[in-house]
């Protein structure tokens, strides 16, 4: 979808994002197509059946109301834990146990021993735990020295 002047997106009465489709507004979920490379662009909006209703190339070009509605929906669609500090990384039987501080609160999670943080295009690292939760680690300079020491083996 190429954004035009009309309002293309809105927040429905149930708080969910709705997109203007051929038959009017329908509730949609947002898929960030490039969550790390282009987090502010390329959103696929899909209905309950998973059918694409709209595709937003650049959110900045949306009308104000649509942008607001999209931003509200993106919170959940793009959710991950933002790690701000590391308290410990220990190995247990076949698991690595991470105790971290995140922007959302303190959290304990586990990764498999051969699962490593992936380097992200915009800097920092991404770790996926055994339950599928995502943890974004900032670049080393944004971590305190103790966290940096703990994370040393996982950084490049």
């Amino acid at each position: 979808m190429t954004p035009a002047g009309t309002q293309l997106l809105r927040t429905g009465g149930d708080g969910r994002l709705q997109a203007l489709g051929p038959d009017g507004f329908v509730a949609v979920s947002v898929c960030r197509c490039f969550p790390w490379t282009a987090p502010e662009a390329h959103y696929s909006l899909r209905d309950a059946e998973g059918k694409e209703v709209a595709y937003v190339v650049d959110a900045a070009q949306l009308d104000a109301e649509s942008r607001k509605a999209l931003d509200a929906a993106l919170g959940l669609a793009g959710f991950f834990f933002r790690v701000t500090g590391i308290d410990s990384i220990k190995e247990d039987f076949e698991l690595r146990v991470w105790r971290v501080r995140t922007a959302q609160g303190a959290r304990i999670f586990q990764s498999e021993l051969d699962a490593w943080p992936e380097t992200l295009p915009g800097g920092g690292w991404l770790m996926r735990d055994v339950t599928g939760d995502l943890y974004r680690f900032p670049p080393p300079e944004a971590l305190d020295p103790a966290s940096r020491r703990l994370f040393w083996a996982f950084m490049d």
Binding site: R16, R107, T131, G132
Partner: protein
């Protein structure tokens, strides 16, 4: 309404709860304050994200009357009568999910958010509410077990098992020595004697120098007088060495054999147990992980049992013996040697920690290198097609370089540590020599004999090895306990398919099958089959049709008793399958699966798999009937051709025909065809279909087929939809129903066929 059984047994529940307490930091059960608010609780989930997506502690609880959102202290935020709920929707993002509950006119009544960790528990609630909206009722008996499995299940899958006390695992492992008590006693005694004898030569040296040579050198005694004593000491020393080496031989031989025996017993036990386990175990665990448990883990345990346990115990004994002897010989020099021991152990400990971190990094870099290899080697065709060789080579070089740097860091660490440690040890040696020199010369302190000093020097040489071993005990034990856990997890897993205590013999199966109000659920929440009832007469060929996910394969799994029905009964010849003599029953059951599995071996071995004694004539006859004989004869080694691992040297159609020949030779009374002709070309399908037509004669057959046309010869078709029997009848009867499910499926396939046939 069907009462579903608990999704987890009490032992499993305890494990899941222990994992949650240990690893997640979230409550393992619904808090008492929340329970007090509710009626009979059916399901609950932890909602760990608030509206602003910050972490919080709230609960979504479904009881028999209401859906409630509760705070951790039990404060009720929302309480919705279940009857008011008209819709429930779920939405998932990258790392979080949302559940919305709606009432009349689409009004949002409640919404909760949670991280992915809680997704399964929330999904259970959504499913049950959805079922309620659709008019189905699902009642669960154990909300705690369902919640615990939903949250801790993925942790348990990633980990071998819940971590128990390390020592209890070691004791259990040592218990495997019990059948070999005598050998253990001999081996251990030999090891102790050997260790103690190590302490003898330096002491003999002291005696020889101080009590034999010195008096002669001082002229106090004549050389001739002392020669017999000297020779006696030398002879005693010789005897000591002889006994010591005999002990070394005993110890190495006994312990190496013992370790091997225990590993052999463990392998046998684990492999035998694997064959008793239900298919659900194999669907949950990766094949590689199971193989590792039988091979590498038992091998690692051999190493630990054969050498680790003994080496560690002997090192402690040796160190204690050395300390005692040194202090007894000369307390001043003895203290110089023994006081720094804790320092050495600490150095080993910290070095171990530091090098582990470096190893971790190197390991990570090495996995990057491996990733390039496992990407590009199988994909070489694509790499070449897109002319990306240079890019791939550079990618590999980059990663190889960083791995090199990481491994060099490891080497830098240990190559620095050891010389520094040895320098420290030499400093202690120098201190001993310094103090010894002033005392030998009589400058300071009590006099010291030359023999004592030389004995000391020899004892000092024995000091480093036990320190090193003790420094590695933790690492060695961690590795062994980790392996033991993985092995014991398999051994401790209880088969879900239990053998009846007094099984009903099934010497000859007639083939009368009855599904009586059967329900089944793989995860204890979602029902794959719902109250399914049908009968099959002996000799009938029944086709199972329906959309994918309808429950067709589950029917087959229950008929083969790979799983037990969770409600109702599956009967063969009037006997509940849970009561039959299972091996006897399965001997009369044949399965031709969608993906035929051939074992590494000859075509002959594979055809004869179910009847190893079958005569060659019967094998050829079966192969002919399966349309396999011709292609087998075209291979240079005919029936003696090795098919390779999983039969990879044969095409898919050839593998299928060998598998049909195997089934024909097995001559089953009850035959299951699980999409046997899918994924093959038309000509191959024709040949397989011919083979199947011969195979099905005179047997009761239950067949699933992707292509409905292949079921035209079936006596009856059962159309399964959403786990229920939607329609039943012959091909012609079902086609005559204009709005029937079968008619729709058939028309859809005809359309597709027409499109592709153009």
């Amino acid at each position: 309404m069907v009462l579903l059984p608990m999704s987890a047994r009490p032992a499993t529940l305890q494990i899941h709860q222990a994992l949650m307490e240990r690893f997640t930091g979230q409550p393992a059960v619904l808090p008492a304050a929340c329970r007090a608010r509710c009626g009979r609780i059916e399901l609950y989930a932890y909602c760990d994200l608030d509206e602003g997506l910050k972490l919080q502690a709230a609960w979504l609880v479904l009881d028999e009357a209401r859906l409630r959102v509760l705070a951790a202290d039990g404060a009720e935020q929302i309480a919705l009568p279940r009857a008011e709920i008209t819709a429930v929707k779920e939405q998932s993002g990258m790392g979080a999910c949302w559940l919305g509950v709606y009432g009349h006119q689409g009004r949002l009544l409640a919404e909760v958010r949670a991280s992915n960790r809680q997704k399964k528990a929330l999904e259970h609630i959504r499913f049950v509410l959805q079922q309620q909206i659709e008019g189905h009722e699902v009642r669960l008996r154990d909300a705690d077990a369902v919640y615990a499995e939903a949250v801790a299940g993925s942790i348990r899958e990633a980990q071998a098992t819940v971590a128990r006390n390390q020592m209890s695992v070691v004791w259990r492992l040592l218990g495997y020595f019990r059948p070999y008590k005598r050998d253990v006693a001999i081996g251990s005694a030999a090891a102790v004697v050997m260790t103690l004898l190590n302490l003898a030569p330096p002491y003999a040296t002291k005696y020889l120098l101080d009590d034999v040579i010195a008096p002669v050198a001082d002229g106090k005694l004549g050389a001739d007088d002392m020669l017999p004593t000297a020779l006696a000491v030398i002879a005693a020393l010789g005897l000591t060495y002889l006994v010591r080496e005999a002990c070394v031989w005993f110890r190495l031989r006994k312990m190496a054999y013992l370790g091997e025996f225990v590993a052999h017993d463990l392998r046998q036990e684990i492999y035998a147990h694997l064959h008793r386990l239900s298919l659900s175990f194999f669907s949950k665990k990766q094949t590689g992980s199971i193989i590792t448990r039988v091979s590498s883990d038992t091998d690692r345990l051999w190493e630990f049992l054969a050498f680790g346990v003994v080496e560690a115990s002997l090192s402690v004994l040796m160190l204690a013996g050395l300390g005692a002897v040194l202090i007894a010989l000369d307390w001043q020099l003895g203290l110089i040697m023994t006081l720094p021991v804790p320092l050495f152990l600490a150095a080993y400990y910290f070095h171990g920690r530091s090098i582990n971190r470096r190893f971790l990094k190197a390991w990570r870099k090495w996995s990057d290198v491996s990733a390039v290899l496992s990407d590009t080697i199988p994909g070489m065709r694509v790499v070449k097609a897109f002319s990306q060789e240079d890019r791939e080579r550079k990618r590999f070089d980059r990663r190889n370089d960083t791995a090199l740097a990481a491994f060099n860091e490891v080497h830098a660490s240990w190559t620095t540590f050891w010389p520094v440690l040895m320098l420290l040890f030499h400093a202690i040696t120098l201190a001993v020599w310094g103090l010894a020199a002033v005392r030998l010369l009589g400058v300071w302190g009590p006099p010291l004999t030359l023999g004592t000093f030389i004995a000391f020097s020899l004892y000092m040489g024995l000091f480093m090895y036990p320190l090193e071993v003790i420094g590695q005990i933790t690492r060695m034990m961690n590795r062994a306990v980790s392996s033991a856990h993985r092995v014991f997890e398999v051994i401790d897993t209880e088969p879900q398919i239990t053998v009846a205590e007094d099984p009903v013999p099934m010497e000859r199966v007639e083939g009368r099958v009855r599904f009586d109000n059967v329900s089944f659920s793989y995860d204890g929440v979602r029902r794959t089959l719902r109250n399914l009832s049908f009968e099959i007469q002996p000799g009938e060929m029944i086709g199972l049709v329906g959309p994918s996910g309808a429950g067709k394969s589950t029917i087959i799994n229950l008929l083969a008793r790979f799983y037990d029905a969770t409600g109702g009964a599956v009967e063969v010849d009037g006997v509940d399958l849970k009561r039959v003599d299972l091996p006897q029953y399965r001997r009369q059951l044949g399965i031709v699966p969608q993906e035929p599995f051939l074992f590494h071996g000859t075509v002959l071995d594979n055809i004869r798999y179910g009847m190893p004694e079958a005569p060659l004539e019967a094998v050829v006859e079966a192969a002919r009937a399966a349309n396999a004989h011709d292609f087998i004869c075209k291979m240079p080694l005919g029936y003696e051709t090795i098919v390779g691992e999983r039969g990879h040297t044969l095409s898919g159609g050839e593998r299928q025909r060998v598998s049909i020949a195997r089934a024909i030779l097995h001559n089953p009374r009850l035959l299951i065809l699980d999409e046997a002709t899918s994924n093959v070309d038309t000509e191959t399908e024709r040949k397989i279909q011919e083979a199947l037509d011969r195979l099905v004669r005179g047997r009761t057959v239950v067949a699933i087929a992707h292509r409905l046309s292949t079921l035209q010869k079936a006596s009856r078709l059962l159309v399964i939809k959403d786990g229920m029997l939607a329609e039943e009848g012959t091909h012609a009867e079902l086609l005559a129903r204009p709005d029937g499910v079968y008619r729709k499926l058939h028309d859809m396939q005809q359309e597709l066929h027409a499109q592709f046939a153009v």
